[in-house]
Amino acid sequence: MITLILTLLMPAFVLVAGIVLGLLMKGVDRKFAAYFQSRIGPPVLQPFYDMGKLMMKQSIIPENAVTWIFKGAPVTALSSSVLLLIYIVVPYFLYLSGVNHFFLQAGDLIVILYVLAIPTVALVSGGFSSGSPYAAIGAQREVVLLMCVELPLAVTTITFATKMSAVCESCPSFSLTTIASHPVWNTMGPMGILGGMMLLLSFVFIVPAESAKIPFDQGEAETEIAEGLLAEYSGKYLAFIQMADGVKSLALVSLTVILFFPHGFTDLTGLRITGGGYDFTLAADVVLFFVKIFAVYFLLITTVRVIMARFKISQAAKILLLTITVVSLSGYMLIYLDTFISAL
């Protein structure tokens, strides 16, 4: 029964909640960015107003576009972002609520790594198919970014898998549930903590690069290549792309939270909240998760976006391929040494 409910209702719920929360985060992000610049900023619900307007507007299909790819790309981007969110968030909440379900093992880091590429690839093909030179330039840049960010992300994945296989030998080491149930910081010596910090530092660059935010928004640089990838999109297709962007940022931030700060309420305080015969710990966990998401979103996306300028595409590639890969590799080395030493 519960399997049926989960498989039928859960995707629909995550779709709606993901879009709403993603747009809300975008609004909060714009508000905070405005505070940084000592402006008042738009209302928090501004992205919803924007969506409402975009849905009403005419959607123009350019004459020399490949119509089916052009139309399909935004929807693909949105649905694959939602898929990503499902793979990241649902196993975590299943683990927190203690339900035993086959989906518990579904949140596999390697699957996530691949699904993470789909929205970008969809948008890139949409950009190439739109027949605008600006969109083609933007799409090329996006492909470069996609390839560059893959390497540090893979290193991080392997680090976590190595760590998990050392911590818990019988658990599936790539599974997010394993990572959530054995928070990395708990079992590490000083060297390992330093390594974890380095991985976190590399995530400060990986998350904006994956979600195409400043300083890594070369693909849609509105001041130099007229919004690049999105140059020809209008009306409801643009709305879909915006929603996909919100959901994808949300998924990335949730991934960061689950990788680095997966502590539930009980892990932190050792308490369970009960009242009137019900157990409210899960509710507390959900609230805690949202607080963490907002904090990480603020630090990793809003702050980075406001205090930095856009890199040139060559600089961005160099930074991601060399600097960030070296940072995450040294994180890997430190954590490996740490587990090695503590195993002695």
């Binding site: 900023g41 738009p42 307007k53 507007k57 600006y134 919004e227 140059a231």
Partner: protein, 151 residues
């Protein structure tokens, strides 16, 4: 016109502007940026500058139209999806201003595209620009009312 049929109500909360320079002296353009800066902060009304006419709801046209840019103005206007507004900023665009006798100027802008609001001034102050946008919103409201009465 098609413009009347689609509801313009949603533009009141979120207005994305594309800035089209048709040969202005750049003073008007700087004033548009000043409108977006912390002192006047147009973003709190949901106004945002976008980089491509495809995303725009309103064309902010500055400068009188030079002979060379005539047909490009039309092309950009056609690229903006319906419903759309056109706001002309500056004396140049409204009346040709100081370029009255110039052989190189084909303007003013309303010779080529339908204009909703003129904001005179050389250049107009940010207050005037915000007022002009408020006028555009008023216009939207009026057309809504007229449509409501007709149907």
């Amino acid at each position: 016109m098609i413009r009347k049929k689609i509801s313009l109500k949603n533009l009141k909360r979120s207005l994305w502007a594309f800035h089209l320079n048709t040969g202005s002296c750049n003073a008007c353009d700087i004033e548009i940026l000043a409108t977006l800066m912390p002192r006047y902060d147009a973003e709190r009304f949901g106004i945002k500058l976008v980089g491509t006419p495809r995303h725009a709801d309103v064309l902010l046209v500055t400068g009188t139209v030079t002979e060379k840019i005539k047909d490009k103005v039309l092309r950009v206007y056609e690229q903006v999806p319906e419903p759309k507004l056109v706001i002309v900023i500056g004396g140049c665009g409204s009346t040709k201003g100081v370029f009255q006798e110039s052989y190189a100027m084909a303007g003013p802008i309303d010779n080529f595209i339908p204009v909703d609001v003129f904001i005179p001034g050389c250049p107009p102050r940010p207050e005037a620009i915000v007022y002009g946008i408020a006028k555009a919103w008023e216009k939207i409201e009026e057309s809504e009312k007229r449509n409501g009465a007709a149907s």
